[in-house]
Symmetry: C2
Subunit: 166 residues, 2 copies
Amino acid sequence: MTEAPSARPFLNLFGRYLREQGLPVTHQREAVAQVVFESEAHLSVDEIERRLRDRGDRIGKATIYRTLDLLVRSRLVEEHDFGEGFKRYEHRLSRQPVHEHLVCLECGKVIEFQAREIAAVEARVQVMHGFLPARHRLEVYGLCRECQEAGVTLPYQGLTCPIDTV
Amino acid sequence: MTEAPSARPFLNLFGRYLREQGLPVTHQREAVAQVVFESEAHLSVDEIERRLRDRGDRIGKATIYRTLDLLVRSRLVEEHDFGEGFKRYEHRLSRQPVHEHLVCLECGKVIEFQAREIAAVEARVQVMHGFLPARHRLEVYGLCRECQEAGVTLPYQGLTCPIDTV
DNA sequence: GTCCATGCAAACCTTTTGCACTATA
DNA sequence: TATAGTGCAAAAGGTTTGCATGGAC
């Protein structure tokens, strides 16, 4: 929610990436990148489009999608799918470089946290399964503090006698 | 890949769930549930439809989706999205009740494994963030043993000088 | 001047829904 | 017989693509 002090250095990195790839640096690409780099939120394409319009930029959705693809390829931006039916994008320049997500099932809020245990998990699957980890995703779904305090609960709607799954 | 010895007990549980909810037990619902319970794989809707046809059942996709929704609600089946553009379904009666997934980026194979560390992670977010965990998802993406042995590597395609993300 | 990007609209793909018909209980 | 399910086709919703125009280098 807080805005980063300056997106400039990251815009420069993106420009460098485009040049490395022999691709032109266009106004639209700079604008989309700036919106993503200036926000600490997990933005949807609709939100990005709205912020661009608020800045006075009318940029087509196709261009936004195409630019996000470049940003993800450059590894400056991460794509997330929290099961809402659309994707969200977050730049990788936050204070917590590698982090996981808590997703509130009631209000949709996303909280970042760190889980150092994952390193041990990745080391173990390499030994036990011969699997070479490249990246991971850990999301914990539940209720954020505020929704719990507002009295929200998650109803159980499965079988009356749940199967044992521990 | 191996077939479970008998899906009967689980079909009975599903029947009980339907009766609890006052819903009729139809031939189509039994057939879809049986296909899911009989497989140890992570099935897509297309795969389920194909297996139904192979059994001689011609059941519309709409009915398959509607039945999968009931199976997920009953907590007998889990829905997964491994980022392929469609969902996969897995029954919850495997030998490893709670497990995570290794997804091979080359061949798409899914391997199940256990990560007991997650319990500690969930306990910690409850203390540190006041977040009440309900469920989680942990997926590790990388290369399976066979694809590594076949010489597959994952090319780095980001910036030549990657940003530090520890 | 040569590529490549952009914008628009159409296409795509999975999933959902409306509706006439049929089956369950 | 009443209620709910099924199948088909159409709709929905996010994302991708084709193509003519316009911009970067």
